[in-house]
Symmetry: D2
Subunit: 430 residues, 4 copies
């Protein structure tokens, strides 16, 4: 809520300043405006020009945007003469000072441009949106990767952990923020305001988000949590709001992170999720000292793709299992009837299907990379179309045990080691 006032303040500032400054002619092209911004000496006119550049940019069509980024790529590099001179000085005498000179000489001019754009109120919003556009253009225009790198470098500095604010999302949160929660939920769609309420208002539900002071009303990432006495075995029971009857809060033992959504495509590769989960674990422990199990209830997005792909690099046993399970019909009854085989297939998928030394499943990679372990598998846990298609309805609990996450993380990061619950051991095909 404090945040709300800060946002109000910023919003007011933006509109007031727009009001004050927007008499200037707006007929210039974006190139002229950018040139003016890079050459500007006056600070107030710099702020106005930055706003004009951003507004012009927003009005460009797709080809205009591509041309703008192309110009950033080709026309806003460092001065190669200065780079050479700085390098020669450094080679002659590789002092700290000469290194710094070289380091400064090599920073592309677009870095300065982005910083100048960010001087105008509200600019961070525009720049994140700008990178969203850029990311969309990258596949077709791989030469723009250098531009994207400069965006990312700046964003990593601006969105450092010290500047993030954790905020509880509940029924007292402003509609402006809640509306975005509905819109940004990426795992289990929120259908409407009633559905939203069932996820954030009941006493056994919690929701937390990270915000940044310069991104007004914009959650960066949020996580939805269900509190219960037992580990839940289906997502349906959570989404249906089971367990919401009032029990003594002291009786909760399990906190389940059942949905984590990144909100800002323009902040791709600025990772927030690992911070978020760990900070939320601490918040919940302080509110509910009796909760002793922090787990996820996660989808397994790559399972059926793996099941049905061609190729046979695994062991013969695994190959056989994969073939058997790929014949199972994708229905609750069929899967339940073959529960043992499906479980074994899923577990060995998580364990053996790799990209490099890490699991190929993106959700597994995220949680195991955070230091979580594979805790339990649930058959017929997500009967939605998406759930059946991705993983034949199977879901997995990843366990966050604060005592072990550092050790787990280190073993995972250095050797790709996947820690799992002893009870799952018998499922493993060597």
């Amino acid at each position: 809520m404090a945040f709300g006032r800060f946002q109000d303040f910023l919003s007011g500032l933006v509109s007031r300043q727009r009001g004050l400054f927007f008499s200037s002619s707006e007929a210039a092209s974006i190139e002229e405006l950018v040139e003016k911004l890079m050459g500007t000496v006056g600070e107030v006119s710099g702020i106005v020009t930055a706003r004009q550049v951003l507004d012009h940019y927003a009005d460009l069509d797709s080809e205009g945007k591509r041309a703008f980024f192309a110009s950033l790529e080709s026309d806003f590099n460092a001065d190669s003469e200065q780079v050479r001179a700085a390098y020669q000085a450094y080679e002659l005498e590789p002092s700290s000072n000469n290194l710094n000179r070289l380091s400064i000489a090599t920073v592309p001019r677009r870095d300065e441009l982005l910083k100048r754009l960010n001087q105008t109120p509200g600019a961070t919003h525009d720049l994140v949106a700008m990178r969203t556009d850029l990311l969309g253009l990258l596949p077709e225009n791989p030469e723009l990767a250098a531009v994207d790198e400069d965006f990312l470098r700046l964003f990593l500095s601006w969105f450092g952990r010290s500047f993030l604010v954790l905020q509880t999302i509940n029924w007292s949160t402003s509609a402006a923020i809640l509306e975005r929660i509905i819109r940004y939920e990426a795992v289990h769609e929120i259908k409407d305001w009633d559905d939203l309420r069932s996820r954030i208002d009941p006493p056994n539900r919690r929701c937390f988000a990270f915000f940044h002071p310069a991104l007004v009303d914009e959650p960066l990432i949020f996580v939805e949590v269900a509190l219960s006495t037992e580990i839940p075995s289906t997502i349906r029971s959570i989404l249906a709001g089971e367990g919401a009857e009032v029990i003594d809060p002291g009786e909760y033992r399990v906190a389940t992170f059942y949905s984590i959504s990144n909100c800002q495509p323009g902040l791709r590769s600025v990772s927030f999720g690992n911070f978020l989960i760990k900070q939320v674990v601490q918040e919940l422990q302080s509110e509910f000292p009796a909760i002793n199990t922090f787990i996820t209830l996660s989808p397994i997005p790559g399972f059926t793709r793996w099941l049905h792909r061609e190729g046979s690099e695994e062991s013969a046993d695994l190959e056989a299992l994969r073939n058997a399970v790929s014949q199972v019909e994708s229905s609750e009854e069929a899967v339940t009837a073959q529960a043992d085989d499906v479980k074994r297939a899923v577990f060995n998928y998580l364990f053996h299907s790799k990209r490099g030394q890490f699991p190929s499943d993106p959700v597994a990679r995220f949680h195991l990379g955070n230091g979580a372990s594979v805790h339990q598998l649930h058959i017929a846990a997500d009967l939605s179309e998406k759930g059946m298609n991705q993983s034949m309805g199977t879901m997995v609990n990843y366990l966050y045990d604060l005592r072990n996450i550092e050790v787990n993380h280190e073993a995972y990061a250095t050797e790709g080691k996947i820690v799992f619950n002893d009870k799952l051991k018998s499922l493993l095909i060597k």
Copy 2:
């Protein structure tokens, strides 16, 4: 006040996290800790290690700190092999991509170290304090300038304008902040809480400060403003609280910025004052549409030093004036008796005494650089010991006229042109 809650939140987080994490052994040396931090893969242990480095640093004595910075200078540069390789690739093909590779290769490792330190809650405080120490060591250890440059580069990115929050300081502000206002006032000392109250509580006084979300309760810079019907001619009348009798707020015509204090020595060269004054002008205009004059009442810190210095590069007329005025006794009566000569001397000092193309007087340089103009001079305006010593009690109004500041700024920045009130023209010695 919103800010207050955000600060509470952060404080709570810091202490909670310290509480959670501080079981680890703290016997390691700072070098070992830094090494651990740079090599760390686990995020939580990274946060703990960063906090340990910062706490160890704070306990070092002066020599220990010097050694720490010396190690940053000598041991945390970029890998020269990587720099060379990156440069050669760039020279072969000066693409954007190769430039980015080179740019990244040349960033000193201390940059990464500072960023990792800043992951721990509250670290920004520590890093600003660290640079304060560093700045104190620089004169004797000029080789540390490269380290300081890296601090400054990071701070410029973190303390960009978009991340600053303007806050009104008044009698409803928290004691935690007000206490710092008392401590940080650098121009006209605040003697005690009653004195403070007389500057921020009366209806004809305002005070504004910039804050940054990561520097809890710490003003970065603040300005004190007196509202009145006429331009005040002495600082004494302002400090004595004259004009505080209640008049209709609609009758104020003048806002006088009579004190601007930078609060954070560790943020030297991260300039806030220019933003602050302009934003405050807008705030005041919105609250008091009838105010049409925004001026300072400023000291002239370099006048008597100039008056009494040796050398004679000026015109004969100015030389003669300087000699004459340097004989005037530094008392209210004497100065008042010679008011015309003193005024002429002061004005020509502001106009002719230069460092490069800009005025040598630091206060003049600040306001003229912001686009203000020299508006009026006041004899016997500051009879305090400091005031008499610096400028024989003379003070100056710099005028902030929003319609002209951009033009003034541009003329000043490009040609060193000083704009002044026509009425002062007759004082000028060509």
Copy 3:
């Protein structure tokens, strides 16, 4: 938003206290609990008992509630012996002191009971709900009027103007409050969250509500306002969100109060609307100095009832007009075709149809009683079913002119005088 924190605090308190205290046996009947509460000496047990009474009450069925109120009526009067003794002392010596003794002696014991109930956190909510029940029982149980009077006396004291908080309702308001705005809108139904947003979020819309510190998250009354350059002539254009295109806020000239809803049936006869409108006028004047017209766009709920009723006390001309208009078909075309007659009929209805010396139309009575005047009539302004049924689609602007409302109010309150716009004069049938 400030209010939000206060509400959080109170909510927390309630649940914490319930948690602390609710070990006590809850098997007693409500009569026993009430008796215990009236006889209790310990304060903490008083608070627990009060909560138990309120919870028991909430669980009663309709007959149980009636019996409870009946018991309040018959068993909780003052002690008639004490009343007699106090009266005799007063008659012997009618001193201030003896009057006070008598005044205290005559206060019914249910007044003390209600005050004791209100000591428990959250009780004000329960008591307002209790009176809602009571009001529903009154028509069938007129003897309970005395009980209702005591509720009302207390509520008038608790909900005095000094204790009301005006709050802006917008898209940054908490969902908990907005949800109630949707539910409580009584004039022009709010269909869903999108509809709500169209009423409170656009730059040309405002919404204000009164709150009371003890009624957490509960608006007491709210008003919806549309800003525009001209007086709007149909409610449809407002509800359709016309005029929401961004114009310079300085161009608004008219603020239209198009919907005022009382939210708490349990606070009937505690009047908030008159305060609200006047305070909102001041808020808007301070934000938009150029707005010079504050009007309503109001329904005329009693018009067609009057048109079709039997009886003929009016003048022959009015009778003739009434007969003519009562033949007009209730369709946009027909009404528009007969616009002059319909207007005349409506105006004379407002002017001549009386209850006592005041207009019989409840909306007219409200605004004219506040000191507003009849400003303009609009044909086919509300084509909704409700609007056509009530007033053949006609609506009226009542004008709030701060310079005149006191004079208007006084003339209305003392002589029943209705002030109207000169332009309407020709419509009047003497």
Copy 4:
């Protein structure tokens, strides 16, 4: 802090409304204004007139105020004819309805006057100040007691428990509130802002206050608390800030209420202290679950007065003890040398010196009346002049044990029973 915004809102409202309305002539006498207010029908003019009455009142000299209250006493009673008529109706038929009529008829007109005065923003402040004046006049003007009773009746209704807000006071609290804490501290004087800080800022200190929404920035009552591992035995050690070194908050076992101050003399007999202590106990329990002892460290203001008074109603043993102790010199050494006798004398003073069935010592009466018990006595615990004079430096711990306070309270309230620690039993003289 939430409260702060509400205060800002109200302040703004007051000044805005004063600005809007204060064109009216202010030359009328207070009698004329009061008459106007009682006769007024327009609401806005009522608000203006109320403000004028309050401002006129504030300008009256002491005799003017007395005359004003005298007029309230004599001229603002109920209409005796109406009282008589209502009584006769009631006597004929003592129905609930007739009782209500009588009850309303007997309310003095000054009650209505006070309510009307309270409609103007900020009026509650003025009315509390008005009663402060009245209480000062009462001893010399006992006939005004009836007026005071009416003030008190209203204040009891307005300042009911449901409307009080508990707020933490710490170094983040606004200076406007802290300044009043300094001013209002009644038990152990706060010398300056540093002294204040030592009481509210260290991690082992807490301070809580009650506020009311209509009394902006004005604490009603506050309590200062010291947290420690052992029960403190001297007030000096608390005031000197001992125990402020950082220890793990989980190690605190004792919370000592060492100072409770009522802030508003105008709210005399509206009791807040009992609520405050119990609510603070709950707050502290929730923050520090390991704290198991909630005690006071209290002065014994009546001890030496009792010791030296004439008369001998006690038992011979007590008489002898009293004589012996009254000879002890009032110095730390002497008292310490005679510690046993002094302790016995103090304990028997608390136990045997009565006013009616309750202890004559006012502090004992307050805490025992709240359900606390006498827990421990400390010799030479308060060596200040005041402490030595009042009680030869002796202090007492009253224990608040939530499990027993209700039982204790009931035994005390009905039989005057004083509960004490078994260890003190041997001190008791039957």
